[in-house]
Symmetry: C2
Subunit: 144 residues, 2 copies
């Protein structure tokens, strides 16, 4: 049996993670999808394999799998959109410790096409960047 083969749909579960059919299928669904499904979409696809699976379980699985780094949650916040009146070009630094949000201006013009490999022919109209980390205060606390 293949273990830890990224192309396999039989990724080994970490030892500290109980392997249930629901978790297995949720992970499989995501490994077979390339369209970044929402929780609801994962639910519908998983339901084709485990008709009795519940939405709450899918949410549980997604959370657990994310915690164990088997999948990634694409949006930084599950929460609601935030707004700001700072119209200068800038990105956002989110402190994982205290939730602080700091505006960070670019050092130089950021050209997405030079930094990331994009398909030929795409048009880039904007860039939304969220930097995750710990603010100076929370960094100190971590070291303490």
């Amino acid at each position: 049996m293949k273990l830890n083969d990224p192309t396999s749909h039989e990724t080994a579960m970490p030892a500290d993670l109980r392997m249930t059919p629901q978790r297995r299928q949720v992970l499989d669904v995501l490994q077979e999808s390339c369209d970044h499904p929402t929780a609801i979409e994962v639910f519908m696809r998983a339901k084709e394999r485990i008709p009795g699976i519940s939405l709450a379980t899918v949410y549980n699985c997604l959370e657990t799998l994310t915690e164990h780094a088997l999948i990634r949650q694409v949006n930084i916040e599950r929460a609601s959109s935030r707004f700001c009146a700072n119209l200068q070009e800038h990105v956002h630094f989110h402190c994982e410790g205290c939730g602080l949000v700091i505006d960070a201006p670019p050092m130089e013009v950021i050209e997405a096409k030079k930094l990331w490999r994009l398909p030929e022919g795409v048009t880039v109209t904007g860039l939304d960047v969220a930097i995750r980390g710990r603010c100076p205060e929370c960094t100190k606390k971590t070291h303490a």
Copy 2:
């Protein structure tokens, strides 16, 4: 009277935007806030000034002000979080035409601290990037 002074709380409304007390206060709240409030938070702060203001109006104002580029909406999607099992380092390209999401790997290691001006002492643990634009197909349609 100061017009178009970004530090003023009396930013001139564009000629094509009807200036109502509600819009004025929602904009003022955002210009006085540096913590990127959510719609609900804007609502609560605006309520202190216009007790009768309704949440629906705040949503309306946020949408209108965003359309007129007087404020920015921080998260790309109002919609729900998406998930992916691609654990390779990559960012996401969202097509504004058809909604397609494409994974884009970095050309080289991205160092947030070199690209954006961050406060001294912060720890960076991750970078979430969403590139907005039009995929090759939708780019063609736009030119047609």
